[in-house]
Symmetry: C2
Amino acid sequence: MSVFDVAIVGGGLIGAATAFELAPEKLRVLVLDRREPGREASWAAAGMLSPGPDSPDALPLVPLAKESLRLYPEFVAAVEDASGISVAFTRDGALEVFLSPHGEAERDAMIAGHRRLGLSIEPVSLDAARRIEPSMGAAVRAAAWLPEEATVDPRLLTDATLEAAERRGAEIRVGCAVSSLLRDGDRCTGVIAGGERIAARHVIVAAGCYSRGIADESENNWLAHYVPTNPVRGQMVALQPSDFRLRRVLRCERGYVVPRRDGRVVAGSTLEDAGFRNHVTAGGLRQILAAAVEMVPALAGAEVVETWAGLRPGTPDSFPILGPTDIEGLLIATGHYRNGILLAPITARLVREWITQEKTSFDAGIFSPLRFAEGIPNSTARRGASARS
Amino acid sequence: MSVFDVAIVGGGLIGAATAFELAPEKLRVLVLDRREPGREASWAAAGMLSPGPDSPDALPLVPLAKESLRLYPEFVAAVEDASGISVAFTRDGALEVFLSPHGEAERDAMIAGHRRLGLSIEPVSLDAARRIEPSMGAAVRAAAWLPEEATVDPRLLTDATLEAAERRGAEIRVGCAVSSLLRDGDRCTGVIAGGERIAARHVIVAAGCYSRGIADESENNWLAHYVPTNPVRGQMVALQPSDFRLRRVLRCERGYVVPRRDGRVVAGSTLEDAGFRNHVTAGGLRQILAAAVEMVPALAGAEVVETWAGLRPGTPDSFPILGPTDIEGLLIATGHYRNGILLAPITARLVREWITQEKTSFDAGIFSPLRFAEGIPNSTARRGASARS
């Protein structure tokens, strides 16, 4: 039986960043991924690092998002340094554009809301917006400038973070699915993965939308009480313009376009409940392309070089699930929904603090997995069993 | 030096069908393709066999198109018999649908026009149209039923026809680009292909939009005077619905959807002057998907399984270029624009008749290559040379 200090279930950016953060702590860290790591939601993301709320319901997430964005430069520098891979982190700001007849009023409401949250945002005239992004189209009725927003290439970042974690001594097992958690009473003692029993003092579940499907040895999936994730499909398109270069993120209510370092433009996205059917659809592509071309008409002539979809880990309240459980040794770090790339640095730091010290530097209590598992401490297994019968 | 009776430049469906038609005539037939045959316009086509005119300018093409559709069952039977490959030829009719507020008037005008040309078409109520195709959407304002229209899978048909031609004794050379035509005064005596001089009594140019680029040994491209083809890009999408099956072709002014035997739906297309840039664009896909989803709303949820583009061989008057030239031994069979799949049987038969008998069974005089080369018989090489200087 292998023995590790920490076993991380899931090799997406969250798992990789957590391994990278923990490995220097003289901990023996193992990352387990059911296929090639970093090819699920992390691979599918656009990489906009935008801490603003996408709805009023999202307000409680903003402090965590702001803190993670603050950590980003340092996180990227450490990953790039350890991996030798540049991850295309850019702090070029973003333009929020408004296409409706009430664009100016919508813009002003957003500005007021962002300012209440301490987020940098400025109204800009259409002329000024066009100086920021010359390819902006005539359909735009109003615009706001968010100077502190950043982007990163999520595929580069995830691969670099995996590489960096490995160089720091973490072990990464590819194509090694976790079939069960090992449990001994109120303690989680490890996992079974690839047919092997692996002992670990700490098990961190970072398996995105697949987290809730992980059972224990008796095929009881009590874990789902702590991690009730559900897949939320997002479709994406990569475009290659031949005659201009997009400089900035443009975003509207119906979609966004994000420039990549190689000149490509990533356009997205949809929010769909489609189970685990991870593919692009006619309706999804139509919507994404319509929004992209409306914001930046010159994109109509751009080559479609890739289409893909990803399954975000949604949760019942759309907030991440972060922190220790009442099962000793079991910690959750998933459910980041639309914000997994942005929240990776703060998530990794919190997990390190939960494992290595008494107190965290940021109060993440509202994201605790216990909010879903209320009333079932020490009885989750039985309740899970009876719910199945 | 190899010696053939017939060298066909281009292994698309036209070249393949011509080889299939000529091979039984005790002729030694060679097909030359610069890459894998059948992977250009034939591969990209939707396979609607629709003889109606797509504009008033297209009226002179209708008799040729009707004759080719009449030949189709026999052509398909012969190809399937010789190749052992089923090509998914179906005669299920097509619905022409009208989405504009003036839909009924447009429909009635189309019906009158088609009837004058002897084409089968019937007005149908929306209820009747929905019985023909239950997935037809509520945006349709009027419909007409074309009971004699057919479809074929162009990829299967092209591969089968190549196989059938080979089994009848034609030789097919893959990845063998024709770099020059060989000319001796007023005679074309063969080609240079893959670095080899190949003598042929008859050279048939069937190289689609690439035809005009073929020069002679002095790098003089006098051929372009007979074959002034230009690429007209068409973008395509293949969709895989999971919860219904499209039964019929639906077509409107802005696009069409064609069912395939395996349940896929092919949606198209665009008409674009984009040079030889053979790729799909944001604007093209957006337009195709919008038309498809408007005609058949259930397609919004269908998976996008493939996107591609093809370069149709356009011509200055949009008619094909068919027939002997005033260069002895040089015959043209290309420029079929949007109608290459439909016109393959009649084209192959005409070429056989031009080569093996005095007279053709169908008067194709208006499609002669001499209509572009007027006034330059016996002096094309000189004029070509001076035009370059």
